[in-house]
Symmetry: C2
Subunit: 172 residues, 2 copies
């Protein structure tokens, strides 16, 4: 993150990252499949948190609310890592390749959440649509949170975004 921030992602070579860590280039690739992955390795624990949060919601909770609750919980964790999360976001926002990687991680997260819903007995396509709607809500709330100079409450932004989604889909 230091190197990516200082000179940009594209202008940083794997050899430089490895050198700063006191390792060789080959060792870097043993731990990370590619140059981008090093920024996303930590995301796995967040996905596990989200899935177990959905799984442990009471049966009485509607699917969309189980998703929203999980996302709000994850939002609280991200908020604690405030500066780290924002610096990481700035690096990603500055490079298209990194945005591609982020999007596929979010798509994989949506799949995992849909699976968690199916285990609660939600049928398709409801499970997938609910999960995708949740990810859309999260994306927009997170964008707003990262862009704001004055830090608003992320879990709150997530809940507000869901209400807004309800309003716009209600439509006619």
């Amino acid at each position: 993150m230091e190197l990516y921030s200082e000179r940009g992602f594209a202008q940083t070579t794997v050899a430089e990252i490895a050198a700063r860590a006191g390792l060789t280039e080959r060792t870097f690739f043993r731990h990370f499949a590619d140059k981008r992955e090093v920024l996303f390795a930590g995301a796995r624990s967040l996905q596990e948190l989200l899935v177990s949060s959905v799984a442990s919601a009471p049966d009485s909770v509607a699917p969309i609310d189980a998703i929203a609750g999980a996302l709000a919980a994850a939002g609280a964790v991200l908020q604690e890592r405030g500066e780290y999360a924002k610096q990481r976001q700035a690096i990603i926002a500055a490079n298209t390749e990194l945005q591609e990687r982020e999007l596929i991680k979010l798509a994989s997260l949506a799949s995992a959440l849909a699976e968690a819903l199916r285990e609660r007995g939600v049928k398709e396509p409801a499970a997938s649509l609910t999960a995708e709607a949740g990810i859309a809500v999260f994306k927009i709330a997170f964008e707003r949170w990262a862009a704001e100079t004055d830090k608003q409450d992320l879990p709150r932004l997530i809940r507000d975004s869901l209400e807004e989604l309800r309003a716009v889909t209600a439509g006619h």
Copy 2:
């Protein structure tokens, strides 16, 4: 598409593509920024169709319905190119890098649709949420359409998916 279908995306070199087209490697990169882009260059016209469709919807039409109408129209176009669209989808489904590129194209499409809504006077975050919801609906409808052996009607699937999204977000 011939080469990517025959031996797979990763196993195809740019030199081979260029040779089959009777050109050199250098010329390929003049036209396409990278090896993936050649599969997505045609998508630009579809984005223009969608944006102009949203822009030309009557003022009385609700934002979400303007988006849904545009997506259904695009779905009709894709359905006409039936075999081509399915072959392309199979190539993309078989390779993660291509999925990444597809996701960022869809994200860029969502941005363009949100902009079209803002020009209709829709405020943020409603515009972005409506656009993202539309893309989610489209993604799931298209997946189902491409997976089905018996070809269902894609515009119909899109409208049904939107109804399903309405039902699941209504929630509590």
